[in-house]
């Protein structure tokens, strides 16, 4: 069940109606929990056991951490949580990757071993909720948060269906307080939520899903295409992944908002970032913040001098790449971003802030950052390094290995989308819409929805980030 399916709208309409009819907060939370498990079970009910198991482990461990006074004991309980959560993630997501890599490495050393791979299906959203539960236990361990003694609250936090399968990665410190008191219907900014949902719907269903077949065509055989096609293919993927993921986040925030809960902003016009550092402040913000707080800073952050800072940046980005997928192309993608962050940091340190170059960086930096980000997407999207290098030769060196041409008219559509991206980044129009008389807003909303539906594909295209 995904947000752009009609059955989700039906599902949500029922939950929305029931939720606001119930008076007691406990009943509402119970309803959210049941709805969340139903939502997750719609993919594969068997994986509910992992979600519930993870919740129970972290509930118990957090209480034990709080009740244990000796540091080794607390550390031991933390290790139980880490081993359980990362163990499950490791088995389901990374076992085959590491086993395969080890086999290749040993083979390269002249020590051939038999392949050991498991035929496992990746539970949808496992990376997201694992990070969420980890952040909870770590916050309890570091004393930033009191353990949640109400199991229902913790289960709701971990399984909250709007953000369960593809984020944003919510922090317990932000979300658990929202579960303490009943949400008031009068607090719901319905109009803002509806606008956000429609914007997300447009990004996902009308842009991303329509670009998906074109991107698949190009990346399945880049050697058959021209250099111009490489540009169209790579730009299409840059737009597809942004619209897919930020569209999902917009809809998740809107759905949660309609139930009275706030989720954090996950994207902030990242393609208008004027540096790679700014890009990572605007792209998948909840993951960036998680990596900063639970990886970069514990590694030492920028406290140990330049070299250690660079090491920490690189390690954080390499692991961020690995979080996205169990393949070396993802790790390489993370490494490229880590290198770029180091270069930018060094550049900012060396260039005089008052020089012409630095003063105009807000303009040329946008183009350069976008080009670099597109370049790195090649490794993120390609299914092998060989394919990625073919694309890079076309995208960077403008070589045309083949003669097939993707529709050039798409470049015009991209310019239009860039304009929309700019408009979405400047929310004045949203303020205007929020001020419209209610009946006019409702009429416009109905009209816009009917118009957008004519642009969406008839089949379903799953969200890209579900696989992570």
């Amino acid at each position: 069940m995904i947000f752009t399916e009609f059955r989700f709208l039906l599902f949500f309409a029922i939950i929305f109606g029931l939720y606001w009819t119930l008076q007691r907060n406990t009943l509402r939370k119970a309803l959210i929990l049941v709805a969340s498990y139903l939502f997750y079970g719609a993919w594969d009910w068997r994986f509910l056991s992992i979600l519930i198991g993870s919740t129970l482990v972290d509930y118990y461990v957090s209480l034990k951490i709080a009740d244990t006074h000796s540091p080794p004991g607390r550390r031991g309980w933390l290790l139980v949580s880490l081993a359980t959560n990362l163990g499950v993630l490791g088995v389901f997501k990374y076992f085959n990757f590491f086993a395969d890599s080890a086999t290749h490495f040993l083979g390269w050393l002249g020590l051939p071993v038999n392949d050991v791979t498991l035929s496992l299906v990746l539970p949808v959203g496992i990376s997201f909720y694992t990070f969420q539960t980890l952040s909870y236990t770590l916050d309890v361990y570091f004393g930033k948060l009191a353990p949640e003694r109400n199991l229902l609250n913790l289960a709701c936090f971990i399984a909250f269906f709007p953000q369960l399968v593809a984020g944003p990665i919510v922090r317990a410190i932000d979300f658990l307080p929202q579960l303490q008191a009943a949400r008031r219907f009068t607090q719901v900014d319905g109009r803002a939520c509806l606008i956000l949902f429609l914007v997300g719907f447009f990004k996902k269903a009308c842009v991303s899903d329509n670009l998906a077949p074109l991107v698949d065509t190009y990346f399945s055989a880049p050697q058959d295409h021209t250099a111009l096609s490489a540009w169209i293919g790579v730009l299409s993927y840059a737009i597809q992944i942004y619209c897919d993921f930020s569209g999902y986040s917009d809809m998740a925030i809107a759905v949660a908002g309609l139930l009275g809960y706030e989720l954090c902003l996950n994207f902030d016009a990242p393609y208008f970032a004027s540096s790679i550092t700014a890009f990572w402040r605007r792209w998948h913000i909840s993951l960036s913040a998680w990596l900063k707080d639970y990886l970069y800073i514990p590694l030492g952050g920028n406290r140990g001098g330049e070299l250690l800072t660079y090491r920490n940046l690189l390690l954080t980005m390499l692991l961020g790449g690995l979080w996205h997928g169990a393949a070396w192309t993802f790790v390489f993608w993370g490494g490229l971003h880590g290198m770029a962050l180091i270069v930018h940091r060094e550049w900012a340190r060396r260039v005089n802030a008052y020089s012409l170059l630095a003063q105009t960086a807000g303009v040329w930096g946008i183009g350069l950052t976008f080009y670099w980000v597109c370049f790195t997407w090649v490794f993120f999207r390609a299914d092998s390094f060989a394919n990625a290098l073919t694309v890079v030769r076309s995208f960077v060196l403008l070589q045309s290995p083949g003669s097939q041409q993707l529709p050039v008219a798409l470049l015009g559509a991209f310019a239009l989308l860039a304009g929309l991206h700019w408009a979405f980044a400047h929310p004045q129009w949203k303020q205007q819409l929020l001020r419209l008389p209610g009946q006019l807003f409702a009429t416009g909303y109905g009209f816009a929805t009917a118009a957008l539906i004519t642009l969406m594909p008839t089949g379903y295209v799953p969200f890209i980030y579900f696989q992570f």
Binding site: F6, D189, G190, P213, R281, Y296, F447, T454
Partner: protein, 364 residues
Amino acid sequence: MLTKPQYNYAPRYRPRSRVGYFRQYLKQGAIALLAFLLTASLLNQIIPSPAIPPNIVFISPKYAHYQAHKDDYNALFFGSSRVYNHIVPEAFDEAAAASGQAVHSFNFGIPAQRAISGYVLLKEVLRTPPKDLKWVFIETPLDPGYEPIQNARTNRAIYWHNAENTRIALRYIFTSNESPLRKAALAVSHLLPFAYNEFNIGRLFYQWIPVQNFTDEEQAVSKQVLDNRGYYPLTGDADPNRQNFLAHITRYRQSVTTLTEQKGDMARRATPISEGQRWLLRALVDQVYRAGAEPIFIVPPTLEPQYELHRARQKGYIPTLLSYNDPAHYPEFYDLSHRHDAEHLNEAGSRQFTQQIARDVFGG
């Protein structure tokens, strides 16, 4: 490098009662729904769905070919995969020629075609019939009117669910012999694609400005099918259905034995047919007569007894029925050497089956 999450919008507290809010939202929701329906209806008029849009897998390539070459043909075959994979037009024409009949046939079989969608396609194709059309062969399993719900949002399900065709489907279902609950479930399986059709899902991008063509594999299959005048042979052992068949040969043999026993039980041929089935058969016959041709119904060598069609023939609802689902009379079609899987013949079996039909129709 990183930043703390920011909230997307600040919740605004407005002192208004809950009931007042609900009433306001209800009113605005009703207005939005009305605006949505009116706009959808308007768009439906401005950008109507083509009778057969250009991106319906299996159907559109055949229909486009038919439109360009229809006057070349004087015999058409309609039906499911049991026509698509079983009727070899070239073999049919040769067998007919051997009997002194000049025939040029085209196979309009579509995989997974069902009773209502099959009727809709035949109706559309025969709206502009070939000028010398003489014979229309129809294979139509009289299913309960089922349309897989998981396919509801596919081009193939949406395209034909306009108001008229959905009404036909509902009429067929509600006059069937199914239980009320089953009828309701069957009706929903049509109402969903009908809603998608009425809401114009993908209309602009996928029907008027098709941005998504068929996949490479679909294009390759289409080319092969059109080169064979609509026939697609089932060959090789890679197909999962074939694998399943090979793994369960004993079960297949038992099914053949059961079918043989059932076919010998003449009392079963008195199975009543529903009003909807009767209407459908008559509508098919009328369409063919209107196109100036002769309707010939076929029951291919399946594992289903399909008593309803025998009953329809007895009652005179259909003029001609050629039935091949009798292992006692046609053991060769049930022989393992001629089967691809439990429900389909392989290429050799298909040629033999096609020639048998030609001999039965034209003599020789």
